[in-house]
């Protein structure tokens, strides 16, 4: 399968890329790792006149933890992030990055491309909602930082303006005593997740939940915070009753659609189960337990 013909451009730096995209107009598209865009072009669901290859722009592949912030460069491939020191220190990041699709896609696909694609079932957007991340962008009007909840506006739609590119993603370094887990349920490695759950929490002495954030993937047009589920846990002793109430709240707030991946009721039940599993892993990680593994296959 061949995409429709396009002109190919390879800017030398970020400034040139922004200028090119602004000049060429809205029929030009940026190409990073291409793992979302190329399949779309091959199916001719989009036919841009120009592709601006930003895949090799310098200085956008990094992961650092400085001054209370974790920051990951937009062109960091998933597999590279999964092997980074950040992923070692913050297991929820490894859960997400190391479980995306398969090793081949993880070689090419980038975190910046994934959030810009804003697929409702994709892993990074759900994870970044769990971590209350901010998206840093650069465009013809200058730089700006957008909260993830405002960045993704609809399915496959972001707040990015023409010529504007994601340059990095950042979130607060999780405090001591905190832990998280991200679990996606997939039919096969290369398939998109059916649904996913991210839990990031801080547990105080006596197994009391000090703080928690829960986000759901595949549960609506954009990643969804489960605010009521968080309220069921925050300040409470983490027993099975509290988690059951949280699971009820997750199932209530989710609005998954019926599709080839399953019925909405099936997905709600899945979300309940994934919340309990992610919650258990997150709680044990708060106590510094080492637990490997993330995505669950059918």
């Amino acid at each position: 399968m061949y995409p429709a013909p396009f002109r190919y451009h390879r800017p030398a730096n970020l400034k040139e890329a922004i200028l090119m995209l602004s000049t060429l107009g809205e029929t030009a598209k940026p190409l990073a790792g291409g793992q979302t865009l190329i399949p779309i072009l091959k199916l001719r669901m989009d036919e841009p006149t120009d592709l601006v290859d930003i895949g090799r722009l310098p200085d956008l592949r990094f992961a650092k933890n400085e001054g209370g912030w974790v920051e990951i460069g937009a062109l960091s491939p998933h597999g590279w992030v999964a092997r980074s020191d950040i992923a070692k220190a913050i297991p929820i990041v490894k859960d997400c990055a190391g479980g995306i699709a398969d090793v081949q896609v993880r070689s090419r696909g980038t975190i910046g491309g994934s959030v810009s694609a804003a697929d409702p079932n994709c892993d990074w957007p759900a994870l970044l909602n769990t971590l209350d991340a901010e998206i840093r962008c650069a465009g013809p009007e200058g730089d700006r930082t957008i909260a993830i909840g405002d960045f993704i506006t609809e399915a496959y739609t972001t707040a990015l303006q023409p010529g504007e590119l994601v340059t990095s993603i950042r979130f607060r370094t999780p405090p001591p005593g905190s832990g998280g887990a991200y679990i996606a349920y997939k039919k096969a490695a290369a398939a998109f997740p059916v649904v996913s759950v991210g839990v990031q929490m801080t547990v105080a002495a006596g197994n009391v939940c000090q703080d928690v954030r829960i986000a759901l993937g595949g549960s609506g047009p954009k990643p969804r915070r489960a605010v009521q589920a968080e309220a069921e846990l925050r300040g409470k002793t983490l027993n099975s009753q509290a988690w059951q109430h949280a699971a009820d709240a997750v199932a209530a707030v989710a609005e998954p659609t019926d599709d080839v991946r399953g019925s909405s009721e099936f997905k709600r039940q899945l979300l309940r189960g994934l919340l309990l599993k992610a919650g258990d892993t997150a709680t044990r990680r708060c106590a510094n337990a080492t637990i490997e593994g993330s995505h669950v296959y059918a």
């Binding site: 013909p5 396009f6 793992q35 399949p39 036919e47 120009d50 290859d53 081949q104 290369a190």
Partner: protein, 161 residues
């Protein structure tokens, strides 16, 4: 659709040999390998980034060559299944696939070999879980995977420390 598309000159090293070609920007890397260079060992299976039959290594990393443009490989080193044998001798991994009946129709084999070769380069002694994870992006419709995993395990067991 733009009215005039200029071809782009790319330099790609494939299996240690340098090639310079002019390609249309929309040419996929797998088409470049098969049609321009005549290396038909790399297969096109699903053509949707799912099956992994087109797996090659780009600067040492496994990639699905149906989901990359040839222009993106400009200046890079590509390793295809043809690059595994040395001086007419099959690579130990290829021998092991043969010995353990790790293939039946053979269609997925180039991709399986390139994905497992990448794994063993990165981690010479993977456990069963790591092998399964490394070939999770490669689909086989004949063998049921068991013999493929055995073939990779046998090479890992025989690898020198």
């Amino acid at each position: 659709m733009p009215d005039a598309i200029n071809k782009v000159t790319i330099d790609v090293t494939v299996n240690g040999r340098k090639f310079r070609r002019q390609v249309e920007p929309r040419m996929l890397l797998v088409e470049f390998i098969r049609e321009e260079l005549g290396l038909t060992g790399t297969h096109i299976g699903c053509d949707t980034s799912y099956c992994g039959a087109c797996t090659v290594q780009l600067d040492g990393a496994p990639v699905k060559s149906c989901t990359m443009f040839a222009v993106q490989a400009d200046g890079c080193e590509v390793l295809t299944v043809e690059g595994l044998e040395k001086d007419g001798q099959l690579h130990p991994l290829q021998k092991s696939f043969s010995e353990h009946h790790g293939l039946q129709c053979g269609f997925c084999t180039p991709g399986m070999l390139m994905a497992s070769h990448a794994l063993l380069t990165d981690n010479p002694h993977p456990d069963r879980h790591a092998i399964k994870k490394a070939i999770a992006g490669n689909v086989c419709r004949c063998t049921g995977y068991q013999n493929i995993i055995k073939a990779v395990e046998a090479v890992a067991a025989g690898a020198k420390e």
